[in-house]
């Protein structure tokens, strides 16, 4: 409306102030029905589905830093479901379906871009593993197929088909593969949740979990104690430390995961390309930056420092795949702390403490699971502790029964 614009042009009022995306901070109440520890993608997504689909709005999301400032901001924004286990494929393909409609659901653009994801096989053993992954995917509803090097060259003409003298034998082509703006996912969920009445408290650190008679009663925070009927922890890299505050251990090991982006260039690379042997993946963001990521650090550390040897290794692999990348300049590099399980699957659902639910073990696969994770964790809370079928295989108790979900389709897993 040009006249509307003109009105704002001569007025002193800033038009959007009254409809800010997030409400201003309020006092922390002493009592909530549900407290969610961690204001990252998973935490605010859980709050969103609780409020919007289950009518549970007396919810506080407590975040020690700022909204989406942890691993939600540090992942490389890959969305895919081409995993290996039936449990994993079913779970992640539900997530991909939710992602496809997320911008409409939020009325907020998350810049979801379905470009397809291509993983390269350089050995016969990997080709066999990929064939199995393609079949499992087709069976459980994902769009994945095995393609030959000619098709690979057609999809990505700029790719070196003999990187580091490891000829490309085949590709696992996952046409559902996508990327999105990771910050926008957290913002969209947070906006939707707060519009329904959820309180998001940033700069509010949970220092202890209050448990009495095996049942959670609330949390201690840097802004005072809060009583809660249900507490959910969704704190990514520090999951094991948080669970210890609630009084139980988690079978997790924290490893740093490093990544980087270059300065932007004109678009030349549509799919997300990953090499199984070089442990490196390369993609171009919608802004034109090249994102380079790979495997975790070689030993555990609760520190998001970067190390030159790992960066050098990643860059040399990326340059093998796309030799002209050696001409480009790096813009940023960073690391995040990933909470790795021994079977590369998450830990979701019940914990040894009653009404204390866990959403942990997200290692290197957390961002792509954000929507389905929020949806299923909300169902778990709304049903009073009935674990949804989709996440039953990921229960914590599986480790005691040797019932792991061996997810070798995870990026960090060797192929």
């Amino acid at each position: 409306m040009p006249f509307g614009l003109l009105k704002y042009g001569i007025s002193n009022d800033y038009p959007f102030e009254k409809e800010a995306d997030l409400p201003l901070p309020t006092e922390l109440k002493r009592q909530y029905d549900v407290v969610i520890i961690g204001g990252g993608g998973h935490g605010v997504a859980t709050a969103y589905y609780l409020a919007k689909y289950h009518g549970i709005t007396n919810v506080a999301v407590l975040e020690k830093g700022y909204l989406g400032g942890g691993n939600t901001a540090r992942n490389t924004a890959v969305i895919r479901s081409n995993y290996l286990t039936p449990e994993g494929v079913k779970f992640y393909s539900e997530s991909v379906k939710l992602y496809e409609n997320l911008s409409n659901e939020f009325d907020f653009n998350i810049m979801y871009s379905q470009r397809g994801q291509l993983t390269l096989a350089h050995t016969d053993a990997t080709v066999r593993a990929f064939r199995q992954r393609a079949e499992v995917n087709k069976h459980f509803g994902g769009g994945t197929e095995l393609i030959d090097p000619r098709d690979v060259a057609e999809l990505v003409p700029t790719l070196n088909l003999n990187p580091a003298n490891l000829p490309v034998l085949a590709g696992l082509w996952h046409k559902d593969g996508a990327t999105a703006r990771h910050d926008a996912v957290a913002w969209g969920y947070a906006r939707g949740a707060t519009q329904c009445g959820v309180e998001l408290h940033q700069v509010t650190e949970v220092t202890d979990v209050l448990v009495s008679n095996g049942r959670v009663t609330g949390v201690k925070t840097t802004r005072g104690d809060v009583n809660a009927g249900v507490v959910i922890q969704a704190v990514a890299g520090h999951s094991a430390l948080m669970a210890q505050k609630a009084g139980f251990p988690l079978p997790l090991v924290a490893y740093p995961l490093q990544a980087m982006v270059t300065l932007p260039v004109k678009p030349f690379l549509t799919p997300l390309v990953s090499s199984s042997a070089l442990h490196c993946y390369v993609q171009q963001t919608s802004r034109g930056e090249m994102v380079i990521g790979g495997g975790s650090d070689p030993y555990p550390l609760y520190n998001s420092r970067a190390s030159l040897p790992l960066k050098e290794g990643l860059i040399s692999s990326a340059v093998e795949m796309f030799p002209f990348l050696s001409e480009m300049r790096l813009l940023r590099q960073w690391a995040g702390i990933t909470d790795m399980t021994s079977d590369y699957s998450p830990i979701m659902g019940l914990s040894p403490v009653e009404n204390y639910y866990i959403d942990a073990g997200w290692g290197t696969w957390g961002f792509k699971a954000t929507p389905i994770c929020g949806k299923t964790m909300a169902e778990l809370v709304a049903s009073g502790g009935k674990v949804p079928e989709l996440i039953q295989p990921f229960e914590l108790a599986r480790f005691d029964r040797f019932k792991q979900v061996n997810e070798m389709g995870a990026t960090a897993a060797s192929h």
């Binding site: 079978p251 550390l301 021994s342 029964r401 040797f402």
Partner: protein, 98 residues
């Protein structure tokens, strides 16, 4: 370059070493319950602080123990495993089990 001191070979680049997990007390494997064994296999100490770890110097295949801070990455000291493990553990299968 990060340096680790191998008790056998002296200070070397960290890239020559392989991490081998935390040092944990092994339960009596003959009489341990499945749950306790699962805990031994899958759970590690998760506090932030100094941890005892197995490391191997890869070119010489020499295994040793390191005390390292798992947040600052400071290596406090390294020493041969026989300073901690004085006795050999022999695994014997139970009669009648296969």
């Amino acid at each position: 370059m990060k340096i680790m001191t191998c008790p056998l070979n002296g200070p070397r680049n960290i890239s020559e070493f392989v991490y081998g997990g935390q040092v944990k007390a092994m339960p009596d494997h003959q009489n341990v319950s499945d749950t306790d064994w699962a805990h031994h296999v899958f759970y590690e100490k998760n506090d932030v602080g100094i941890v005892l770890e197995w490391w191997m110097h890869s070119p010489s295949s020499f295994w040793f123990i390191a005390e390292r801070h798992n947040a600052t990455d400071e290596i406090i000291r390294t020493y041969p495993a026989d300073q901690l493990f004085k006795q050999r553990v022999d695994f014997v299968a139970n009669e009648g089990e296969s």
